[in-house]
Structure formats: structure tokens, C-alpha cells
Amino acid sequence: MDKITLNYEEMVAAYWDSLNTVLRGFNAQGEFLDLWVPDEDGVSSILNLVEAVQETGYNQMELDLTTETAQEIDLARLQEELVALGTVNLEPTATGYRLQVNGLTEGAAFHNLHAAYVAALRQAYQGPSQAGELSAQEGLELVHCTIKGVGLSVLVEPQRKIIQQAKWQGAEGPLEVGMMNACCQVILGLSLLEAADHGVLRLEDYLRDERLRRPAAGIVIPEKVEPAFGLPLELLRGLLSDFRKRTGYDQTINFFVKAYSNAWQALDGAGRKQRLQESLDQFLKDRKLNPKLFEVLSLDEKGRVTLASEVEFGRDQKAQLLLQLERHLDKHLEENLHLYVQELEDKNSKRRKTQENE
């Protein structure tokens, strides 16, 4: 079944009407909505409806809402909740809104997943497949691990143990395939030790939509907040274990730092500073903030960026923006750029005197 179009207010009215008129074999809207019960909370009510449509086997649904109904519903929360079921689109119409949820059949596979991971996993599932076999190549070592029928093979440069290629085998269903596709992408360029130690932390970070609420009230431990991370965790540790057994590699302390991209390395100091300023400007523009909020003072070889600002900030605003900006640069410009503001000198007169004497 492909698509169904419904009118929310009419359905709710019909449901209440049926409650008063039907004694047995109660079914307000026909068999396809056996599971649906409206809820006083509009978000839960529509969520229940979309789940019922998905269970019935439809791939797409359209739901018309009047302006009055839409005003009573937290539309942002509704869209966040629906992400786990399909691709969501909300368009204004002459009488209110039309909610479209597409890809419900595939979305069923992501149904019980935390909403923060659904969009990226769906994209990883639909994107280029990383399924396949690898065979040893000259100058590269083949390392392999299989857990519960899913295999992960990587080609590793033996000197620094850097993963050059990665392919999976045997994954089934959109969730597992999406997870393995993403995993194969994320571990490229990492050392085997880094992949085993922090590969799943990196994978979780890569897949999480930061606009949605964090998947844990406290600290996010990937395989605890989402059991689907358990498989890549075991596989990545298994790769290291296989490599250790075959080669006697026994390094346990991990000093890995990912190299700068080729494009970044090709730039000189002025070029890097310019790219940084552009990325900073974009960050401020996206948030409709004062374009003069921060100025890049310096950028050193180790990736330390010092920013200056003459603007008055609200309480905690500066600290929050700096952390957000660093993450923005990390995702959109270059990993390993670290933001600082100008250092404050010690105001303690005795201690300062000692420093001056030295």
C-alpha cells in the first residue's frame, strides 16, 4: 500500500461519534485504523495515528490539520517524535497545515531507535553501500572480525596501523545496514587502536542530530543509550584483537590524533585564518547574531585558535557560544581546532610580584 490522505479533525470527530453509537465491533475509521486511539495531548494523538498507519503497511501518509488544531499542538515536538517513523514535512495550506510522513515502511526499522540517530542512520542506509569483501593488497594488511553473522574487514597500513579501507558483510535490515555503512565511513583514517578505543564514540557523535535533545540526561555512553551501537563496538574491538593475535602488536596507550585534511594542510597561515573567519561568520549568520561578536586573533600550528570580543554578553552566553562554535568548526571546517579567549592575568598582588621577580 502506498499512500493515504486523512483529515485529523474529521477522524477525531468520527471517533467520538462512534464511541456513542457503536456497542460491539467498535471501529471508527475502518479496519486499517484498528490500533488508533486519539489522545488529549495532540502530539501523542497524531503519533498514535502515524504508528497505526505504519502498522497497516502504508508507506506514505498525509494528514490535514486546521489552524486551530495546529495552534494547540507543539509542532516542533511532534516533528521530533515523528522522525523515528519516517521523513517528516509540514507545509502550510489555505486552512491550516498538511503533515506528510514518507518512508514509513523503511521507517519501521528505525521505530524503536532514539530520534536523535534516525535521520543520519536513514541517510547512511540510503547512501553509498559499504557492503563488500576486501582482499589483502601489497603494503596493506587485511584484518577481519565477525560477530553474530556480521563481518567487518579493514585494510590497514602496517606502519601506523591506519585504516585505509573498510567493508562489511552480512548486515540485515535498514538499521544494521545503516549502522555498518556509517561505521565503515567513520573509521577511515583512524588507527586500529583508536577505532577500538573510541570508534563507537565517534560513530555516535557522527550520527547524533545535535538539534534534538541528548539521548541521556547525564553522560551519553553509546551502547547504553542505544543498544544498536553494541554490534560496531564488538566488531571494532574484535578487529584489534585479531590484529594483536596475528602480529603480536601490544600497544595499549592511545595517542592518536587525526591528521588535518589535505585541503587544510595545503593552506598557509593566512589561508587557514581566512577559512576560519568565513566559517565563524557563517556560524554567526546562521544564528542571526552580531557579525562582529568574535574576531580571530591567532591560530597556531597545534590548532589553537584565540578569539577576542569587545561585545557584552548575557550571563553564560559567551561560554555557550564558544562551545557551540567549536563543535560547528569541528563538523564543518576541520577537526582539532580548539577555541580559547584571551588569558586573564593573576590579580593576586603577592603572587604576581613573585612572578615578576622571576
Binding site: 553522560i219 551519553v220 592511545n254 561560554a319 555557550q320 579567549v341 588569558e343 593576586n348
Partner: protein, 373 residues
């Protein structure tokens, strides 16, 4: 007094995190866990001027911690489940007008209280009043001879005599009144203070505190204090001689694990702060003292002078910063100074997360100072 519960082994070179596995398991489940230990100061000011002082690098926007602020803070700590508060951090808390009240009120709320101090402004009367409320009191003293004390700690030579008298009084009061409080001395060892290792160990033997701990000196990630970590190895023999001066009732211990690490970290993620955070004497709440300076603004969470601590603890900002430190965006090997307060906790949790160390419920008598992990 709450410190009566602290018995067993005195762990000075390690972590007591294993004795709080309920919190570790809750942390792992993604729950909000209150800090077990908070290290803080009541002011950023100090009446000494030690050459090794890390506080020189920790300047931030100063605000005043008065009695209302600190009382509300202590009440919040007790309410959310903090267990121990050490007044150490980046200032000399004993020179704050609210020092005595802080210790007494904290202890009355059931919090384990502890102090790290230069030991100068005490009198025998004040010590009589203070010691029954403390789990430990540790005096920072990095020399055993009068003139070298003055040089190293940036004060007049006669201040040495007063500090020594105070240490002696502490030990006497403890013994006479049968108090549970632990009296300790701490030497922050820079390689150039080598000549003071044995004189200080001998001085301790005479003054009779419970212990002398000799530790490395921390430095910033840029090496601002100029600590020569390669310079510690030549002192191993002298350090062993100092340890040999221990007797029944006086223990000399060297923080070997940190000294031998030579300032290097085995881990990149910083998992420790949810269990152990630090507050500056300005009221600033930060995951770690090494991040107090304005320079590290991105890690600053709030200030108890402006916001109730329980609100800071429950805020999204608090957990955003904690998560950032535990994420791939943070690398303690590159972005931190050396050998921080959370080092042993970080090491333990990192090994656990990498599958190198299991979580095991400990057996036997709990160690002393269990709430100072």
C-alpha cells in the same frame, strides 16, 4: 561528627572510586549523577606567594562568596547528594571571613569537610574549634628549613616558625581530644626543591602529623610554570630515603604513580568531572581547576554567586560541558595541563570503558576519607 565513619587504609596515591560503584553504574546508564567530591576555595586570594602555585594560571572573573552564598551552596550539595567538600582549589580559604562557618555548617549538614591550607592564620583556639568538624586538614609546606621555606613559599622567614607551631598544635589537639581528623603535610616538589626533601621529612617526624605526602608539581598544557618532569628521576633515591623515615603514627609517602607518569596521560577522554568537580574561589563552577582561567571560558558552567548550585547541576549547560569532555571533541592529552586532580579517576574510568579493567565491588574495610575520591 561525620568523619567518624572514615576508617581503614589511608590512600594518598590512588582513587577511592571503587567504593562508589552505585554512582559509576548510574553514570553508565546515562543518569545524572551528583559529584561525590567537590574541591573548592572560598576566595582566590592568598597570603603566600609560592613559586609553584598553579593558581597564578587560574584567574577568572572574581566574585565574593559570602555567608548566604556558601550556606545555600552547602544546602544544595547536601540535597543533591554530594558527599565531601575539600577547601583547597585556587585560593587560601582560611583567610575568608566565612571559612569557619563553612566548615561547621557543612559538617552539620552531613557533608565530609576537609581543608588544604598554608597553615599560617590559625591559632590554637581556632584549631580547637575547627578540627572536630574536619575529615582531614593538610598543610602545604614545601620546605623543611626556615630560609628555604621563605624563598620557596614567598613569605618572611619567621612565618615558618608560626606554621610549625600550628602543625604541632594540630597534632597535639588531635591526640589529646581523640579526634578522628587526619593531619597531613604536603610537599609540592619541583626538581629545584630537592634539597628540602629530607629536611621536611625530618621536620614532620618532629612535629608528628599523621603523614607527609610528596607530590609532583602540575603545569599547564603550555608548560607555563616550567616544571622539568625529566628532573624527578634523579631524586628517586632521596624520595625513598624520605619514605624510610616513616614510623608508627607518621607516614611519609611519595605519589609515585604521578611522578613516574612524567606528566603524560594514558587517556584522551575526561570522564572524571561528573564525579569530582572544582569551584574557583570566585564562585565559578568548572569541570576542572585547570580550566578556571578566562581563557577556557567555553568550559565555564556557572557561578554560585549568581545561580543556586542545584540549578547549575540540573542545567543543560552542566551536562553539555560534561558530555563534551567525554566526547571525541575533547582530548586531555592535548588540551589539558599535567596531572590534574581528576587524573586517577579518569584513568580508572577510561580503562573500564576500554574493557581493560572490570568494575568490582570492593571488599574489606572502607578506606579513610572515602568521600574524597
Amino acid at each position: 561528627m561525620n568523619q567518624k565513619a572514615d576508617k581503614g587504609q589511608l590512600i594518598l596515591d590512588g582513587t577511592k572510586l571503587d567504593w562508589h560503584l552505585d554512582r559509576v553504574r548510574a553514570w553508565e546508564r546515562g543518569e545524572k549523577v551528583p559529584p561525590i567530591t567537590i574541591d573548592m576555595a572560598l576566595t582566590r586570594a592568598c597570603n603566600f606567594a609560592c613559586g609553584f602555585c598553579y593558581a597564578m594560571l587560574q584567574e577568572n572573573d572574581r566574585q565574593r562568596i559570602d555567608q548566604k552564598v556558601i550556606y545555600e551552596f552547602l544546602e544544595d550539595c547536601a540535597e543533591i547528594g554530594v558527599k565531601g567538600i575539600s577547601l583547597v582549589s585556587d585560593g587560601e580559604s582560611t583567610i575568608s571571613p566565612v571559612f569557619m562557618d563553612t566548615v561547621k555548617y557543612g559538617a552539620s549538614l552531613g557533608l565530609s569537610m576537609a581543608v588544604g591550607t598554608n597553615g599560617y592564620v590559625f591559632t590554637k583556639r581556632k584549631l580547637e574549634e575547627l578540627l572536630p568538624h574536619l575529615t582531614y586538614l593538610r598543610v602545604n609546606i614545601s620546605a623543611g628549613e626556615r630560609d628555604r621555606f621563605a624563598e620557596i613559599m614567598g613569605v618572611k622567614p619567621e612565618w615558618f616558625d608560626r606554621v610549625c607551631q600550628n602543625i604541632k598544635d594540630m597534632a597535639d589537639i588531635k591526640r589529646q581530644r581523640g579526634l578522628e581528623v587526619t593531619i597531613g603535610l604536603q610537599m609540592v616538589l619541583m626538581p629545584e626543591y630537592e634539597d628540602q626533601i629530607l629536611p621536611l621529612a625530618l621536620l614532620g617526624k618532629e612535629l608528628r602529623p599523621d603523614y607527609l605526602i610528596i607530590k609532583h608539581c602540575s603545569d599547564s598544557e603550555e608548560g607555563s610554570l616550567g616544571v622539568d618532569y625529566g628532573g624527578y628521576e634523579r631524586m628517586y633515591g632521596k624520595l625513598e630515603q624520605a619514605e624510610a623515615l616513616s614510623d608508627e603514627g607518621y607516614s611519609v609517602q611519595v605519589k609515585w604513580s604521578k611522578i613516574k607518569d612524567e606528566g603524560k596521560r594514558s587517556y584522551q577522554r575526561c570522564y572524571g568531572p561528573p564525579f569530582m568537580i572544582q569551584l574557583s574561589g570566585s564562585g565559578l563552577v568548572a569541570p576542572c581547576g585547570m580550566l578556571f582561567n578566562e581563557k577556557y571560558k567555553k568550559f565555564h558552567i556557572g557561578n554560585i554567586v549568581e545561580t543556586r548550585f542545584k540549578d547549575i547541576y540540573h542545567s543543560d549547560r552542566y551536562w553539555e560541558v560534561m558530555n563534551h569532555l567525554a566526547s571525541p571533541h575533547f582530548n586531555a592529552q592535548k588540551m589539558c595541563g599535567t596531572l590534574c586532580l581528576q587524573h586517577k579517576v579518569n584513568e580508572t574510568l577510561d580503562q573500564y570503558r576500554k574493557g581493560q579493567r572490570p568494575l568490582k565491588d570492593p571488599t574489606g574495610t572502607p578506606p579513610q576519607h572515602i568521600n574524597f575520591i
